[in-house]
């Protein structure tokens, strides 16, 4: 059986409004008869800003020389964040690092309520065998300075006109360094379905890959991974943040 029942919501709202108006008028009149008006209270002091907190982890926390680890950090009540040796960073995020010696990364979160620090240490085990001559010595940082992320419109995986020159420069760099293998990551903003966003993120990563291939990069050097809305660069709920999260990024495939 499939039946439908229409429920009429109570329509007393107009009456309620009249009642409110009447009562408000009475209150206003009553106010006029007050003998003395109390002086306005002193302005309240601004609410104390919450002290920021900081948290950072390294995964894995022990690597061999030449390998990379992933730093993941988050903060609360912070306006800015900085990682010693890396520089200013978003207030939360992840980053690949490949230290050549054991390194302690100190995250400093600064906000209206002061600052907080947290540390994560990556232990680098004794150097592995000397690197083979074909192995690249390009670091993740240098790579990121040269191979820039691509941003997308809402619910779209088309390469925008303003991203075409970015992709061309990315392709030019990759063509100059044919030894590099690259992971193309596809990302989506927080809105909508988890599963559909994984498919959309794959389309974004693949669109960036195909654009690089069109500019001469061999597809065998490019691997796509969708992160959907599972990894966010920015966690605020507004369009500027969503735009940050609708992207394809490029990392060295190791």
């Amino acid at each position: 059986m499939f039946t439908t029942v229409r429920i009429r919501k109570n329509h007393t709202n107009r009456r309620a409004l009249v009642l409110i108006a009447g009562l408000a008028a009475m209150l206003a009149i009553a106010g006029c008869h007050k003998k003395k008006v109390a002086p306005p209270p002193p302005p309240a002091p601004p609410p104390a800003a919450a002290a920021p907190t900081a948290n950072i982890t390294a995964q894995p926390d022990a690597i061999n020389a030449g390998q990379s680890a992933v730093l993941t950090w988050s903060t609360t009540d912070a306006n800015s964040a900085e990682i010693e040796g890396i520089g200013p960073v978003p207030t939360s995020g992840t980053r690949n690092v490949n230290p050549t010696e054991s390194t302690t990364y100190t995250l400093t979160a600064t906000g209206d309520g002061g600052s907080a620090t947290a540390t994560a240490r990556v232990t680098v085990n004794a150097a592995a065998a000397p690197s083979a001559p074909t192995e690249s010595n390009i670091t993740e940082d240098v790579f990121h300075q040269n191979v820039k992320d691509v941003f997308y419109d809402y619910d779209s995986y088309s390469i925008r006109p303003d991203a075409q020159s970015v992709v061309q420069q990315d392709a030019a760099y990759l063509n100059q360094h044919p030894e590099l293998k690259v992971v193309v990551g596809g990302y989506c903003d927080e809105r909508g379905s988890t599963e559909y966003n994984l498919a959309l993120g794959e389309n974004r990563a693949n669109a960036a890959k195909q654009a690089l291939v069109a500019d001469g990069v061999s597809p065998s050097r490019l691997r796509t991974v969708s992160y959907g809305k599972e990894k966010q660069f920015c966690t605020e709920h507004n369009e500027s943040c969503w735009q940050q999260n609708r992207r394809a990024d490029f990392t060295l495939d190791k």
Binding site: M1, F2, T3, T4, V5, R6, I7, R8, K9, N10, H11, T12, N13, A16, L17, L19, I20, L23, A24, M26, L27, I29, A30, H33, Y154, D155, Y157, G192, S193, T194, E195, Y196, L198, A199, L200, G201, E202, N203, N206, Q210, R223, T224, V225, S226, E230, E239
Partner: protein, 443 residues
Amino acid sequence: MNGKKLLPIFVAILVAVFVAPALHAQDWVRTGTNLGVQRIRIASARFKPLNNNAQTLSFQSIFDQVLYNDLKNAGIFDVVSPSMIPPETPGTPKEIHLDQWAAAPSNAAMVAFGNIAVDGGHVTVQGYLFDAKNPQTPQILGKQYSDDAGIENTRWIAHRFADEIIERVGGGINGICETHIYYVSNHSGNKEIWVMDYDGYNAHQITHLGTISLSPRVSPDNTRVAFSSLENHKGWVIRMWSLTLNRPVRFASPGGTSISPAWSSDGTKIAFSSSRTGDNEIYTTGPDGGDLHRITAFRGPDSSPTWNPKTNSQIAWVSGRTGLPQIYTMNADGSNVLRLTDGGYATSPSWSPNGQFLTFAWNRKYGPGAPGGQDIYIMDVASRHWVQLTHEQGANDSPSWAPDNRHIVFQRDNQIWSMLADGTDQQQLTHQGSNTMPNWSWK
């Protein structure tokens, strides 16, 4: 006019101001498979403890509570409030005065009663269901249950007895009190696959993979869970977890991003979305990943397939082939593609066990700068008539039908809720951490 008289008026204004906005809400339409059917008025008596053992008394109160909740949750009963039942605790048929239960204020048509005892490490329950309007031959059900003494076992005995009652009185449709809900939780720090009882109790972690695992779908025989998981150097793969072996078992996931698995109701096929050709399309395979068939071929994301469990000859899924994602259906070989939704952002379909309805998440006002609500809807597949089930509360997604056709579990923001399939009786089942993507087990 002085201040003392003003105070109540001021309170009245405050109340009016805060209540008035609720009255502006739009009309809501309620629909479902049970409306218009008179609910059966049932009373659940306090079960009689057969000894004064402290454990007996403690388990008796748990049993009473679980049975009462199960009957309330069933969606087919009008359960008599405990304050209106007669002041007796009948442990056996000889001890019940049915006329008192049938009379006001209880007015019960049915009475569930019985006794409970913990003895020698066992908990034993005798449960009866009597028809209060048939004093000559009132007994509908008489059951005895025994298990090792424990809270979980006591809860489970109450679930079994409730399911017996629901099946006997509810038109032969099995109850769902013994079913489970599989879901994704970050409780341990990573998104892993978890399971809990249908009422949110007894949650425990199944996988410990230390990565991101999503979209659990339990097999029709409740022995395996298919899900998608992010693997190093591979990306998203479909994985298969044996609940009997408690470890992963073989599933040959194709290359590319492979996500959102779905079992056919006969357990012989799995449909999922894979980007092995560069664009996510829907594929079907056998339960070990063999016999791969691609069944969609159109530019744009395709994800979230769900089989028509009545026939296994149709699949509904989500496609972005025309822009924003919409719900489509097709035959299981990919022919006869039909679009069901007429706009907005429609995702996460689940097909009802009787084959008649789809439930899915829909944001009809979706768009940049138009923050509409993402709500749960059901649609009659044949007529495409749809009804909105959730309203103005959070972002709702991932609905999954219960095997009784009467219930739906879904996620609201980052917690799991259940409700009747007409949108009533909404209950939050999880409370800590982030718990998402629920999948209701098969009977």
